[in-house]
Symmetry: C2
DNA sequence: CAACGGATTAGAACGATTCTAAACTGTGAG
DNA sequence: CTCACAGTTTAGAATCGTTCTAATCCGTTG
């Protein structure tokens, strides 16, 4: 058995713990559990509720408040990024690099578009006193 | 006194009434009032609460529920468009044409960027079964 | 000037998120 | 290894934007 790209068993916890320590976050049971789920596979887009359901489904008990706390702490630590596409739910993205999204509103689904794929040209200089923080592109898609 | 670009006095109500009739909406006192405020000047970005405050400030009593109802009805009628840039508030835009936005989160301020100004190239074909509904660009800006 | 169906409204309800304050636990010192 | 403390978790309450309910109101049409 060779070493896979990402740990998926006991090793996941060790990886998550290291990641948390590196980010200056105490590796508590809950944070290790959530980090293991979030960073096990490559790119994920979760809501607080979807992650809460997922961790519960894995037989681990973590309160919803802790899921919210953790998502925000991970975001501040640069491990996640928040994506605003829907008026009623916040999404968190494990891909913190430069990229854009397809958004299928009817399913609440986000799909990554690599950063180099899309080029945004002609962004005017912002009004005096303001500077560009970042440019978000959301390609809203519909069924059929 | 010459005729100005937009009515700002008694004429505003007549203009608004015509606009409502044309959109198939009964011109009630509340809708005429709100339409007058919204379409008096060229382009506006409002939230339900900002519009509610504004109409109240003008000495007219309109319930918050009616403001919400009206914003949605105007949106369905194509008189407004909804803009999603903030996780906690919905914005409505009197500019329904093709254009993009600067968003200054700290002030909750939206600034239009004309549609021809920005070019988005390289949008990939959406996954099978999906079609592009529209492409939104949000240029998030910060102070200084 | 009815009378009818759509519109308005106060207030309750909702759903996502945040807060509170009390119980718990990772950590590092001793 | 144990203790103590600061940081963390949590249940439940609170917030807040938005939507719903069902009673009242009013624009339109005959
Ligand atoms: Mn939505
Ligand atoms: Mn915000
Ligand atoms: Zn993404
Ligand atoms: Zn606009």
């Amino acid at each position: 058995m060779g070493k896979t790209l990402r740990d998926t068993g006991k090793g996941a916890a060790a990886t998550a713990t290291a990641k948390l320590r590196h980010a200056g976050l105490r590796p508590t049971r809950q944070r290790v559990e959530l980090a293991s789920l979030l960073f096990k596979t490559c790119d994920r887009h979760v809501t607080a509720e979807s992650l809460h359901d997922e961790v519960a489904g894995a037989g681990v008990k973590v309160s919803l408040a802790t899921v919210y706390n953790t998502l925000h702490q991970f975001t501040e630590a640069g491990l996640l990024r928040q994506v605003i596409v829907d008026a009623s739910r916040s999404y968190f993205d494990t891909n913190t690099g430069d990229h854009q999204h397809f958004f299928l509103e009817s399913e609440g689904m986000l799909i990554d578009i690599p950063g180099e794929t899309i080029a945004v040209a002609g962004v005017p200089a912002p009004p005096p006193g303001l500077s560009v923080d970042r440019v978000d592109v959301v390609v809203r898609v519909k069924r059929a």
